[in-house]
């Protein structure tokens, strides 16, 4: 088991976003978290990645209690994330963005007097990821000048450049045309294999992607786990289909 959460609750004032969520992610798994808007998906990701402190409950990563240690320490331990709303560095180029991630991974951020331009390990590490994500041609483009899809890709690519053991992707294909979604997912799968990722947690609204790529699906509803099962069993679960999937879209009819 790589990541384990027990009885997580999170209150925003009186509003209960998570009401006792427990989950576990094993080696080699791709786990999707689904649920209608407001089900607590993003809160859960934020708690798992240390960006938010849970009101109660615990998170264990690689057998260590990581509750409240914060995102920086979690990255050190091997957990990375991407954001639902695109998070980029607008005035940095694609290459610089990826270089920053590699600098972080190699622990070279406090090299005050070293010339970045001569740091081959950092440059090659960044270019390797740029190639993997098809961003190599745009490496000198400022992030803010990238098309929306590439911004999203850069956000994810910079997380991969950390070479994490587990990655949490918060809607990696949101805001991207349906035609491009599949190719982004293919890129992600290839990249995951290349960097030896041990597990993926995916928050996603597109049910074709969820059912096509997940080993297991966790359905959230009103801050609780409604179901936690392989895709085939989720599809057969009337309650999940009605509350989570059916409402969302008509194209994934239960088999």
């Amino acid at each position: 088991m790589i990541l384990e959460a027990r009885e997580l609750t999170k209150f925003y004032g009186d509003f209960c976003a998570l009401a006792g969520v427990s989950l576990a992610v094993d080696e080699g798994e791709c786990v999707s978290i689904i649920g209608p808007n407001g089900a607590g998906k993003s809160t859960l990701i934020n708690v798992l990645t240390g960006a938010l402190r849970p009101t109660s409950g615990s998170v264990r990563f690689k057998e260590r209690d990581v509750h409240g240690i914060g995102p920086v320490a979690l990255v050190r331990l091997g957990m990375a994330r991407s954001f639902q709303l695109v998070h980029i560095f607008p005035d940095l180029t694609v290459l610089e963005t990826l270089q920053a991630a590699v600098i972080s991974r190699l622990g070279r951020g406090t090299r005050l007097f070293a010339a970045l331009a001569n740091d081959r390990a950092v440059r090659e590490g960044a270019l390797e990821v740029a190639e993997l994500f098809g961003l190599a041609d745009k490496r000198y483009t400022l992030a803010r000048h990238l098309p929306q899809g590439d911004k999203k890709l850069l956000d994810v690519a910079s997380a991969f450049a950390l070479r994490p053991e587990i990655i949490l992707l918060d809607e990696p294909t949101s805001g991207i045309s349906t035609a491009d979604k599949a190719s982004i997912m293919e890129t992600l799968v290839t990249a995951s294999r290349r960097i030896g990722l041990r597990a993926i947690i995916l928050v996603e609204h597109d049910m074709d992607i969820v059912f096509g790529y997940s080993d297991r699906i966790i359905a959230l509803h009103q801050g609780k786990v409604l179901a936690d099962a392989p895709p085939a069993r989720i599809k057969a679960d009337r309650q999940v289909v009605d509350t989570v999937i059916g409402r969302r879209r008509g194209d994934v009819a239960p088999c």
Partner: protein, 318 residues
């Protein structure tokens, strides 16, 4: 390549100034070079880390008074020792002040630095015995590279050896800062400026990096402050007053914070423009206020931004 040629020409011109320019203008170059050192440091915080300090006069004061206290209360007269001591005290002061300030951003950061600046100003004003209160302190003429130059007439000393010494300090300060800005650390600062939440998600400790930048900028401001004392032979609390902090932010905006040498150009234009305007009208702040408004509205990139717009933007290929 073109940038290097321009830089070499400017350096040559600065070297030639004492030979061709009237002494009055040569002496005006001294505060310019001192402020240029201050601004190189300030812009690591402003341009790279995206934090606007309204309290850096504090560190200018620390450096300036270091020189005054050392030359009047101790036998130390060596400018090398003074600059080193100023840098060290600047580091200590900035480490303490910065540890609190960098936990905040934007206006809260600015106000907190302003508050510390005011506290220090009042300290200089009220601790009469150590600082001389509002009259300030004398700064005895420092020796340069072990050479005591007390016999030399004042203008000759300032327009000659002291001028070249200041320039050498500026060149070294600029080279060191160039390396810092173009280091992995410099890139990390820019990630934090652009998007702190994303920087954290990439494992970069935002507060820690901001603090490093603050400490480095404090050391630079102190070194620049130490260079300000000898030309006038006197330091007083106005050096550390909050309007002084405002002036250096103005210089940075005037020259352009997005460019490495922008703030240096800003210091040059500010010093010489202030001198010209003051000789014509007494209300120089009226003129400068209007200039600042025009810059913010029409040329947010400062003077360097205007040059950059004249030729196609060059994307950095680090």
């Amino acid at each position: 390549m073109r940038g290097r040629a321009v830089l070499a020409l400017v350096a040559l011109a600065v070297l030639l100034v004492p030979l061709v320019a009237p002494a009055y203008h040569v002496l005006l170059m001294l505060p310019f070079m001192a402020y240029a050192v201050v601004l190189l440091g300030l812009n690591l915080l402003f341009g790279s880390a995206g934090l606007v300090s309204f309290g850096h006069a504090l560190f200018i004061g620390v450096g300036a008074y270091t020189g005054a206290v050392l030359t009047t209360h101790t036998p130390v007269r060596s400018l090398e020792v003074i600059l080193l001591a100023a840098a060290l005290l600047g580091v200590v002061a900035a480490a303490l002040v910065g540890a609190l300030c960098v936990r905040y951003v934007k206006i809260y950061f600015g106000m907190l630095t302003l508050a510390f600046g005011m506290v220090f100003y009042t300290f200089l004003l009220k601790f009469y015995r150590l600082t001389g209160g509002d009259e300030g302190m004398r700064v005895l003429r420092p020796s340069l590279l072990g050479q005591s130059l007390d016999a030399m007439p004042k203008t000759e000393y300032l327009a000659g050896p002291y001028y070249y010494y200041s320039f050498a300090v500026l060149v070294v300060a600029a080279c060191v800062m160039w390396r810092i800005v173009h280091s992995p650390f410099g890139l990390c600062l820019r990630t934090i400026r652009d998007n702190p939440a994303k920087a954290e998600a990439l494992g970069l400790g935002v507060t820690r990096y901001r603090w490093y930048a603050f400490v480095i900028s404090g050391a630079y401001a102190a070194v620049g402050g130490a260079l300000l004392g000898p030309p006038t032979g006197n330091v007083d609390p106005t050096l550390a007053y909050w309007t002084q902090s405002g002036n250096i932010v103005f210089m940075t905006l005037l020259g352009g914070f997005a460019s490495f040498f922008g703030p240096v150009l800003g210091a040059f234009v500010f010093i010489f423009l202030q001198d010209t305007v003051m000789s014509v009208v007494t209300y120089w702040r009226l003129i400068f206020g209007a200039i600042l408004a025009v810059i913010v509205i029409f040329a947010p990139g400062g003077l360097m931004g205007l040059f950059a717009r004249a030729r196609p933007a060059e994307v950095s290929r680090a």
